[in-house]
Symmetry: C2
Subunit: 214 residues, 2 copies
DNA sequence: AACCGGCTCCCCCTGGCGGGGGAACTGGTC
DNA sequence: GACCAGTTCCCCCGCCAGGGGGAGCCGGTT
């Protein structure tokens, strides 16, 4: 069970996020905070796996709160910065502060859920699809790390075969290893991509451009 | 078990197709023919589900053989015309003759297998991806029917939710029906798309453009 | 030498998935 | 009225998928 704390000064936003996350069987919102000071003490108390952190908040802003949490807690919670993406600067400041990634408020519920799973399971620094696309639309900043980047060579091979529609047994034959080994690799792929099953993994493979239609 | 007859005047081509098809647990090549006369009598005798028919063959060409089979047998076998696609005319002649679809010799094994399952399960007139793309590259002929076209409205909704990574139970909640109903729709989608499982169905959804990345 | 990441294989176990049936109701067509 | 396609729901069943462990081997790093 992935435990989440939601921090946003707007009650409606907190409600919306809670509705989306609590609908998932493997996610639970254990607490809400309305400002930066509140979230810091709440997270110290509840020790959630993931914090959804709004940038603009009273008292202590999201960036400073993120910095406090990631530098003073061990293990540090994974912080997802919730943003409307009006301002580029937030991105780099948030990363410096130790944020694990970003969440666009206008993103689809599925994307949000997957992003939460992603940072909870893996430890990757990620730009969710929507952010990547917006960023690419303006000017490519540094490069756009995809969750598929963290896959090992073998895991990448396995994902490609998953995206070709093969079963574990067929992948095993193709790679000339045992089905158990394939299961191990598939498990690693699912964890690194934040996917619940092979179908979601294949979807991520398409959405991230790891494989292309046609 | 889908029973297939392979008709091609080149022995190597027959061997290659047999190797690809017999590797699938649900497919079996029950006979081979080297010319048009042979395939007609062989199919009358064996009554396979699917015939892979080369266009250029001695004695009776693939088109004429297709016409004889589809007009004189009941139930008629599903004929997939195997082609290298040098000549546009074959396409329309084959369709008039009752062919169920086309198979590019240079297509990947997975595409071939899926095409066979597709015509065996469904009864749709289909252009495999490779053909569709080549055709679109020249000039769009009439329109390019996709296997997703035959889905009912409800099945299309279900496929879209499958392609969003939802489980049957989650789809049931979203559509406010029972999980059993979703299972029925999913089963129909798999049959119509020639997919073995939901992962392959989602792949087809992306490959056919039914859903787009991004 | 000790360590770690990547790859390999094994166990047990649960649950969702998919195939096989069947059956009822709707609305539209013949 | 008979028929059919589409949608809905139900049964049983086997299988693969995915999570939980653990463990050994290799190669490069510290």
């Amino acid at each position: 069970m992935i435990r989440v704390v939601v921090a946003d000064d707007e009650r409606l936003v907190r409600l919306g996020l809670r509705a989306i996350l609590d609908a998932e069987p493997d996610l639970t919102v254990v607490g809400e905070a309305a400002n930066g000071a509140e979230v810091v003490s709440l997270v110290r108390e509840l020790r959630p796996d993931v914090v959804l952190m709004d940038v603009r908040m009273p008292q202590i802003d999201g960036i400073r709160a993120t910095e406090q949490l990631t530098t003073t807690l061990d293990p540090a919670p994974r912080v997802l910065v919730v943003t409307t993406f009006e301002n580029d600067d937030y991105v780099y400041e948030a990363l410096r502060a130790g944020a694990a990634g970003f969440l666009l408020k206008r993103a689809r519920a599925e994307e949000m859920v997957q992003a939460v799973r992603l940072v909870a399971h893996g430890d990757s620094l990620l730009f969710p699809n929507a952010i990547r696309q917006l960023a690419a639309g303006r000017r490519a900043p540094a490069s756009a790390p995809s969750p598929t980047d963290r896959l090992t060579e073998r895991e990448g091979q396995v994902l490609r075969l998953m995206a070709a529609g093969l079963t574990n047994g067929e992948i095993a034959e193709r790679l000339v290893v045992s089905p158990e080994t394939v299961k191990t690799h598939v498990g690693s792929v699912l964890a690194k991509l934040g996917a619940r099953d092979r179908t979601q993994a294949v979807i991520t493979a398409y959405e991230s451009g790891f494989v292309q239609p046609g």
